[in-house]
Amino acid sequence: MRINPRYINRLVRMGLNVQAYFTVGILIIIVAIIFFKGFPHTNFAFIFSFPEDMGREGGIFPSIVGTIQLALLSILLATPLGLGTAIFLTEYTKESLFTKFIRFGVESLAGIPSILYGLFGFIFFVIKLKMGWSLLAGVLTMTIMILPTIIRTSEEAIRAVPRQLRIVSYSLSASKWETIKKVVIPAAIPGILTGIMLSIGRAVGETAAIIFTMGSSLRLPLSLMDSGRTMAVHFYILAREGISMEKAYGTAVVLVLSILLINILAYYIMNKAIARYS
């Protein structure tokens, strides 16, 4: 018996529709639970005071600062390195075994799970280079983690810049570097910034690699050699040890909110950059 394809059509459409909204629903449920359970505990004091009694009381200020320090310093290190590498790969070399080799390296490393970065960072930076658990070890590890992403997105963005732009620039007797600096990069900024924002988001949410390199001290990191927590690490410890459900939810709120803001900021900057430079 043949069923009218029109009915099947509608069924399929409904089925897919339901699943799509179910997926979004999962996100909404996650965010809703975190916010409803955590918001009552996040207030000005929570954000700006120090944890007491192992985190049972008090706030999460040191971990907020730790997160900012880690993310910013990692980006500061990784962006010139990554962008420079991307520029070099696209503008200064021809496709060759060498470039294929580099690209293979970047691709392979993009998939390495964070625990392996933690393993590497812990043994190499913390122990062998004797940095101890420190902001420095965390930053160096995180830099290596986000480098492939920055290289990849920057490369794609630069490649996508139409050749005509470059040709016109040369024809106006601009030098190679001038062309890159004033024409190519500005045109590629949306893509480059996407990579940067993605990486910041990753740095903020990362735990496995950080807990073994930056440590888990409750102190406010005042120098590169100090250990400290990021919000993600603090949240993990609070949750795992059952120290305080309320503080855990509160930390989660600040954490998820930050990531939300970073995403929104990313969209905003991207749209602005597209408007400005295209």
């Binding site: 996100l27 070099f88 200064y92 933690g118 043994i123 990362e206 735990t207 993990y236 998820v256």
Partner: protein, 287 residues
Amino acid sequence: MIDRTVLKEHLVKWVLVAFALSSLLFLFLIFIFILAEGLPLFLKVGVNKIIFGMKWAPTKGYFGIFPMIISSFLVTIGALIIGAPLGLSCAIYLSEYAGKRTKMLLKPAIELLAGIPSVVFGFLGVIYIVPLVRSYLGGSGFSLISTSLVLGVMILPTIISISFDALVSVPRTYREGSAAMGATKWQTIFKVIIPSAKSGILASFILGMGRAIGETMAVIMIAGNALKIPTSILDPLRTLTGNIALELAYATGDHRLGLFSTGVVLMVIIMILNYVANFGIKRKIAK
């Protein structure tokens, strides 16, 4: 004047070379380090004893990670069972049915889901999924099925975005040609579009697998971390990633080397997965 520009150009070039080489150095550093630390144990104890060994008790000389390899795969396949159909359906909906406004709503939502840290997933899994499994299905709740459920949700964004890209890159002419022959929308989707986006979709599954097998925090919070191969979906298990994370802080000497060996195995598995997936995507683009 010209000399200065030429000089500057050369300077810039060499600075960029330095940057590129530094990046390369960093990237390969981690590669080489893990290999360097992980290989010696393979040589000392024997590859078979490690990869096929059934007992992990490194302080007593046992470095068998076979149960963990199996568990990692089980949990990954479980995650795919949950994430692949759901993710593909979302991708199809987004590419074939969703209007512009719906797209603008759904796509950022998916990206946000991707941004939620894994510790949050793990936490919610422990608070909500584990007790549910314990009460309604049995066991302690810390189990294969709980972990697969949470991991399945975690890999959704990966599967959705890559499948979506594959689906929208199917040429319009395919859709038009199919419609011209009287096919309905779903017939077109199932018989024309999906098959031609096949390699991209498969690549998304494989990358989802790579993500699942590499996940650590959520897994150690939910999986129970027992060393035996699970005999039912309600049994606890330990993945390769979990093994490293649980014992890293305490391990010294050969124990530590054992963790590096675990890392090497993990790295190889993921690199193979990545390579296969990218190969699939490149074939799609080459078409």
